[in-house]
Amino acid sequence: MSILTVSNLTKQFGGLVAVNSVDITVEKGSITAVIGPNGAGKTTFFNLITGVYQPDNGNVQLGSTSLIGKKPHDIARQGIARTFQNIRLFSNVTVLENVMTGLHKQLKAGLVGTLFQTKTVREEEKRAQEEAYHWLEYVGLAKHLNEDAKNLSYGAQRRLEIARALATKPKLLLLDEPAAGMNPRETRELTEFIHRMREDLDVTIVLIEHDMKLVMEISEQIFVLDHGVKIAEGKPAEIRNNVKVIEAYLGKSAVTPA
């Protein structure tokens, strides 16, 4: 069963076609990678799915619901969460509170209830704190809960971003270059962590990544974008030997021996 169906998706910025008639189907519970050289339109693709940009053409469907025309916060409510290529935490806010923003949609407290601090609202805030703490434990940051997010190490900030995304209880988790800037040991840990998330949390994962070792090891399905066009899809082994892909990464001369 497919959870994300993208059909004929197109986005233009001025004369540049950043994403050009892309069709992608992601199976529920799978780990899928989107790869491609720099400027291939991968992050734009994520931005179109999450509603940060509106597509010029085409359709994005989560399960059976179309996401076109929806605002980012509505799409987040539908069950899509993401992390960013360049980490975007709320840096002057504590680690615990960062995760609590992810719980926003679950908290029922209306403005009136908040104003009068009714018992339900107070209990709800407390539960939210406990739940946020649980997610911090899950990613191994529980001991940093009261520190400002900006004081965490780079790797820890990446994990905090994932915890914040998980707190929204996503059906679909989009990871934008989760291994960027990590050393081989950290990348290995991340690989295990992504597997563990899928086992524990019943979440479908789509990741953009440049680390080919990670991509080949982890994904069941790979889509390759180049200049906004999908040039290949398939299992890791198929992609590895795909002529078009090698051409896109290494140039024509790499495929046609002189």
Binding site: K71, P72, H73, F90, M100, H104, T114, E125
Partner: protein, 328 residues
């Protein structure tokens, strides 16, 4: 000279805190909106002024119908405060919706001009309505809470003289403290306050965390304007006479207080307001003395702003602000 300054110090403290409390609450409105939109909402001073007029109009109306005499004055004041703050709160939301939101993605300067436009509009609207109804745009409210009290500082030490204050001063200070504590709690401890801080730091990411950004911005305007309107009522009760132009200079000073405390920082705005009030009252009481009669009390603003400039030279991010690096 020092002895004379000491003599007047208790009175300076009380008057300075009362004035500073007013600056502080208005400064909150500036700082909250700046924190979330990076917009200097120049119409905020006028919201304060409109609040003062709505409040006085209600008090005059209630006096006319004999209600004011029939119920305890404190109850009447609370009623007026609540209704006024709800009205000005919605006014703030409306202003944002009509004058700022359509310009959200245009350069900041354009929105600033729009804010100045709203500010003139409100001044003239209030002036027009008041003149139409009363024949004069200067309005004096019913006299309330005028009982004088003295604190016998002289009994502590003979180097102080007694300080006097009215019941209204006490009410003003108590109300402001309640507003500040409530706001601080709201911003730091509740889901909606959390959402406000998230939107202030990164609007796009907040929306991807399922936070409705427009709702949070409306909420910010509501709270800031409601507090501003309520302060307008307290100002009118404390100082008696109001005109449609009080919002301009008071707004400017409150904005100054927000910058002094570090713009975007809520606790900073509170502290900056109180500090500016104290400085101003200190100057009003002592300038003549300090300059040997060369400058009189009317130069108090020059003194206060000179201090501000000095502070900003050495600490450009404000007293409580963090040096921010421009978002890339």
């Amino acid at each position: 000279m020092l002895a004379e300054i000491l003599q007047s110090l208790p009175q300076v403290l009380i008057d300075g805190i009362a004035l500073g409390a007013i600056y502080a609450v208005i400064a909150l409105g500036y700082t909250m909106v700046y924190g979330i939109l990076e917009l200097i909402n120049f119409a905020h001073g006028e919201i304060f002024m409109t609040g003062a007029f709505i409040g006085v109009a209600m008090l005059i109306l209630m006096t006319g119908m004999g209600w004011l005499a029939a119920m305890p004055a404190v109850l009447a004041l609370i009623l007026v405060l609540v209704i006024t703050s709800i009205l000005t709160g919605f006014m703030g939301v409306g202003i944002e919706r009509m004058a700022y939101r359509p310009l959200r993605n245009s350069p900041k300067l354009i929105t600033l001009i729009s804010a100045i436009g709203v500010s003139f509009l409100l001044q003239d609207l209030v002036r027009f309505i008041t003149e139409y109804k009363r024949g004069n745009y200067i309005l004096t409210g019913p006299s309330m809470f005028n009982e004088q009290f003295a604190i016998k500082f002289s009994s502590i030490s003979s180097s102080f003289s007694d300080a006097f204050f009215k019941t209204s001063t006490l009410i003003l200070i108590i109300s402001v403290v309640i507003m500040m504590v409530a706001l601080d709690f709201f911003v730091n401890k509740t889901k909606w306050g959390m959402a406000m801080r998230a939107v202030a730091q990164d609007r796009e990411t907040a929306s991807l965390m399922s936070i409705n950004v427009n709702k949070v911005i409306s909420l910010t305007f509501f709270i800031g304007s409601a507090l501003g309107g309520a302060t307008g009522v307290l100002f009118a009760v404390q100082y008696g006479t109001i005109d449609p132009y009080i919002g301009f200079i008071l707004g400017l000073k409150a904005f100054t207080a927000a910058v002094l405390g570090g713009i975007g920082n809520i606790r900073g705005a509170m502290a900056g307001g109180i500090m500016l009030g104290l400085l101003e009252m200190f100057a009003a009481a002592n300038l003549q003395l300090l300059t040997g009669g060369f400058f009189g009390a009317e130069y108090k603003d020059v003194f206060a702003f000179a201090i501000l400039i000095i502070v900003l030279i050495f600490k450009p991010e404000g007293l409580f602000g963090k040096a921010v690096t421009e978002k890339v």
